[in-house]
């Protein structure tokens, strides 16, 4: 304790006001005003420890330093009388690594963290590196699809429009690229990238780093002639390689479309490729190739999604029907017989001649977020009967098969019943006053579809979710016309999107609580 000096910072020089500095002489001490470190003690929790007391005697002339070494006694009854645990009252100097203890020190201190407890307390060091050998891999979104030699390539333009073969296809990333490849009739058989073999040669690995392989099958081949006409070939098993025929190079790959089928465990189970082959003549120096890849989950019909999961503005709303005999267990899917073959909600499309009866049923899909209004003019003559006219107008407004259910998310699957919102129908009459002659004809004149949607999910990335769809048909009375006269009434249909999302509420953190517990392994040998 007598040798410790906290204020001795300058080596071989006297620190100012540092009474314990051994570099200071008596003359220096006389210049001090006070002692910055009056006492140096050991751990004061010990019952008795040595203390060095430094003070300046200012009465004397010149002032001199007084140094006393005493035994300081801790009066508390809980002072440490003795301890058998070396590290308790002093810092331990770390072991110097030598060749004998290096391995042990590495095991103890070599990881990212280590506890200050003695060696036997190392329960977790063995659990840090589980063996990766038995881990099951699977494909995740965006991971390049691996093949036997490298990756499944989707040639795409890089920097310029020339094709580069180094673009790997990512799992579940639907891509479509087109690029230019330089090829000529002379190099017909030499350029690998225009031959079918190049694209189906290597098999795809079902899961990354496994030995399970999936062969790429040829789904269809379409041959395009020089003037652009495409014909689908019947037998698609034959591999057609480029060859020179009559000064043309035929069977050149102009486009490949991959269709990959995957399971929801991230495994690829099928891969098929459709080719478009063409021919080039002597003058051609380059061709444009198109490539696309699409992913379908096994046992589902590929339906173009309108958002994942929330609807994307501009994509069509998906709709469908509930099959007969619902509710039954989930194997019965929603039949995709819908307003149009892509199972979308559609609305009457205005045509240029604006004549309802001549409209021929042209319909346009309702795009999410876009309010639409369309209409046509109906010419009513005296000869028209009420009931067929009503039916015709209803067909016109609603379409051939107006769906009963609308998907609430852009990626709602047909099996998830709760993800589909029923369409509510309203009938309103244009006339408020009911006249006694109820037998007058009511014809539908307008259809208003109101789609209420809300923001769903996190504030950072809200997803659009359809909550409610109502279809309101407004009817008007058709007055009987004197014969020979005709009237034109406008028929309108509209779609309105309303955002009914409630404003976000702030959430506050919970009050901090006092955590007063014994250490969990307090009763170590007994628990």
């Amino acid at each position: 304790v007598a040798k410790l000096c906290v204020c001795d910072l300058l080596v071989a020089q006297c620190d100012v006001n540092c009474c314990c500095d051994p570099d200071c002489s008596a003359a220096d001490f006389s210049l001090f005003t006070t002692c910055s470190v009056p006492i140096v003690t050991g751990d004061n929790r010990l019952c008795s420890q040595k203390a060095a007391i430094y003070s300046l005697d200012v009465e004397a002339n010149p002032p001199e330093r007084i140094f006393k070494l005493i035994d300081q006694v801790n009066p508390s009854v809980f002072c440490i009388h003795a301890t058998n645990y070396k590290q308790a009252v002093s810092f331990s100097s770390p072991e110097m690594p030598t060749s004998e203890n290096f391995d042990r020190l590495l095991k103890q201190f070599g990881s990212a963290s280590f506890s200050a407890e003695p060696d036997s307390w190392n329960m977790n060091t063995d659990a840090q590196n589980p063996s990766d050998a038995n881990e099951t891999y699977r494909y995740e979104y965006g991971v390049p699809i691996q093949t036997v030699d490298a990756f499944l390539r989707l040639p795409s333009p890089v920097v310029s429009s020339w094709c580069s073969d180094a673009n790997p296809a990512g799992f579940l990333v639907n891509q479509a690229t087109k690029c230019i490849r330089s090829v000529s009739v002379e190099k017909c058989g030499n350029v690998q990238a225009v031959s079918m073999l190049f694209y189906i040669n290597s098999s795809i690995l079902a899961v990354p780093k496994s030995s399970q392989m999936v062969n790429i099958t040829v789904q269809s081949i379409a041959v395009q002639s020089l003037n652009g006409m495409r014909t689908l070939l019947n037998g698609s098993d034959v591999l057609r390689l480029p060859m020179i025929l009559d000064e043309l190079c035929i069977n050149i790959v102009l486009g490949v479309s991959y269709h990959i089928t995957y399971t929801d465990a991230g495994e690829i189970i099928e891969a098929a490729a459709s080719f478009a082959l063409g021919a080039i003549n002597k003058e051609a120096l380059s061709i444009q190739q198109r490539f696309e890849i699409s992913f379908t989950q096994v046992n589902t019909k590929p339906v173009p999604l309108s958002g994942n999961p929330g609807y994307v503005v501009g994509l069509p709303i998906r709709a469908g029907f509930r099959p007969q005999g619902y509710p039954f267990p989930v194997e019965i899917l929603f039949a995709p017989i819908n307003t149009n073959k892509y199972s979308q909600l559609t609305i009457l499309q205005s045509t240029s001649n604006q004549d309802c009866l001549a409209a021929q049923g042209a319909r346009t899909p309702i795009l999410f977020g876009y309010n639409m209004i369309s209409g046509c003019k109906l010419r009513i003559t005296a000869a028209m009967k009420c009931q067929p006219l009503t039916q015709t107008l209803l067909d016109l407004l609603k379409g051939q098969s107006f769906p009963e259910y609308v998907a609430s998310f852009g990626n709602s699957q047909a099996q998830d019943v709760l993800d589909w919102v029923p369409v509510t129908h309203f009938h309103t009459s244009e006339q408020r006053i009911y006249n006694t002659f109820q037998s007058s004809c009511q014809i539908p004149v307008s259809l208003e579809i109101e789609v209420k949607w809300t923001k769903y999910g996190s504030l950072v990335n809200p997803q659009a979710r359809i909550v409610n769809v109502t279809a309101a048909i407004t009817t008007a009375t058709l007055k009987q016309l004197p014969s020979g006269r005709e009237r034109t009434i406008p028929i309108t249909s509209s779609v309105v999107f309303t955002d009914i999302s409630s404003p976000a509420e702030p959430g506050y953190k919970a009050w901090p609580t006092i955590n007063a517990k014994l250490p969990f392994d307090f009763f170590f040998p007994f628990v």
Binding site: F78, Y85, P118, F524, P525
Partner: protein
């Protein structure tokens, strides 16, 4: 030799031991919170404290059994006392452990262990005298 002082001493010992046990346990809790008390050291200390408690209960029950008279046939009446004396040796060793070899020996530890050792010593002397009176 009347065994009244021995009897009084046994009662005092019993009460004092309860106090000793609770105080030592409380101080171990205090030490584990205030000082660095790793589990390797805490475990043995607590274990020995509980073993000492068990030994003490055994010892005192044997001693009281002697005082109340023997149950059953005429067994050697100094047997429970002798056994109690032997167990006292174990208790003394444990008390010395808590006095000297414990991880942290506070001044309070020193005081209560010293008192306990003094009590044991006195008790042992009186027990020896009582046994000698039978033999």
């Amino acid at each position: 030799l009347s065994s009244v002082p021995l009897q009084i001493l046994f009662y005092v010992n019993g009460i004092y031991y309860i106090f000793y046990f609770l105080a030592t346990l409380a101080m171990i809790v205090y030490k584990s919170q205030v000082f660095s008390y790793p589990d390797d050291f805490l475990g043995p200390d607590l274990a020995l404290l509980f073993i000492m408690a068990i030994l003490e209960v055994l010892r005192l029950s044997l001693a009281f059994c002697f005082l109340r008279g023997s149950k059953g046939n005429l067994t050697e009446e100094e047997a429970p006392l002798g056994l109690s004396l032997v167990i006292t040796v174990g208790s003394v060793i444990l008390s010395v452990y808590f006095l000297v070899w414990q991880t942290y020996v506070l001044k309070a530890d020193v005081i209560i262990n010293a008192v306990l050792l003094f009590t044991y010593g006195l008790e042992s002397v009186l027990k020896v005298i009582a046994i000698a009176a039978f033999v």
